[in-house]
Symmetry: C2
Subunit: 196 residues, 2 copies
Amino acid sequence: MAKIKSTTNGSKKEVIARKAAALFRQKGFNASSMRELAVVLGVEAPSLYNHIGSKVELLQLICFKIADAFAENLKVIEQLDAPIETKLEKFIRFHIHIIQVEFDEVYVANHEWKFLHEPWLTEFLNRRKLYEEKLLQLIKEAAASNVLRNIHPLAASLTILSAVRGLEFWHRNKAGLSAKELEENMVDHLLKGLIK
Amino acid sequence: MAKIKSTTNGSKKEVIARKAAALFRQKGFNASSMRELAVVLGVEAPSLYNHIGSKVELLQLICFKIADAFAENLKVIEQLDAPIETKLEKFIRFHIHIIQVEFDEVYVANHEWKFLHEPWLTEFLNRRKLYEEKLLQLIKEAAASNVLRNIHPLAASLTILSAVRGLEFWHRNKAGLSAKELEENMVDHLLKGLIK
DNA sequence: TAAAAAAACTAATAAATGTTAGTTTTGTAA
DNA sequence: TTACAAAACTAACATTTATTAGTTTTTTTA
């Protein structure tokens, strides 16, 4: 019974990875069994191995899909011919956007990366470190061009990264606030502050 | 061989829970085995059951210790006779402080709560929801007394919660920034913004 | 339609895990 | 020193898990 369909949603491996992301987010990587994943896909567990190499390979696919998306976006922003404030703004907006369209994957990449095997684990951490360093660089540029208040660049980058990273848990509060509203308000808050 | 010591560090159960918090943070709750925990304590795994009821009970201890600390702090802040800005400031400072002194526990409470069993799982989520609602209330008060810029209260509370929650991952960057520096800068950034 | 490839199935395995039972050792109080 | 309680130990278990092997069914290709 050929049940795993590779439609416009991508290859069969990608279909499996997407379902895996949803499962891993809800239950965690370790607590998610291949049997559970198979049920979601309407198939027996060993059948999955016709399409994937291992369970941890699914985690790799998810984590590096997100890592790639982050890296590519940052690259675009860096090459932008725009004021530094605009770059920071776009950085924040990107995070708010991706958390909406790839919630499961972003959540898994942020929470379950530690179950990657080597050499993927090291590679993932290197990429994350690079990402953080590049944001810091962006903020230092802004500080150098005198557009920022007197805030330590490293502290600012940590605050921004923390804020956008914690966004995962906004998902629960969707009801009271549209994505657009959150985006505008958060950009405003992080760039211009809360108090008059 | 009576090896688990209940010194000034608390009861034996508390000593075990503290080591468990460190282990759970590093490897995740599910990936941490009782045998590993036993090694850390210099004991065989079944010996642990002279002191604790189950593995998940350790998770309960950790999660609710933190939930209690959060709730108590918020209560103190609410009862404070101070301007609303001061209350928000103290709220942020508390999070930066507790992440320093109880890093493992806060991390575990934030990441591993989903492995709690009922009725603890529901209780934990209720408490977290209440906490978020109370911060929102605080911000609405501030908005009502006209001290805030024109930011949606729910968005502001999400931004602040996200920022302080994501602080876990500042721990890695300690090198470049003292706790005090981070605290002052983050409060400043979240309350007054980044851009001049 | 016949052959080949893809992908499903069943059965089985080896390893790891939380936990219990039963026993021995250690520390304490009389 | 003797008796009791606390807490360690060894051995074992039932379960769950990812994965492999081998086989049958389905789909594609020629």
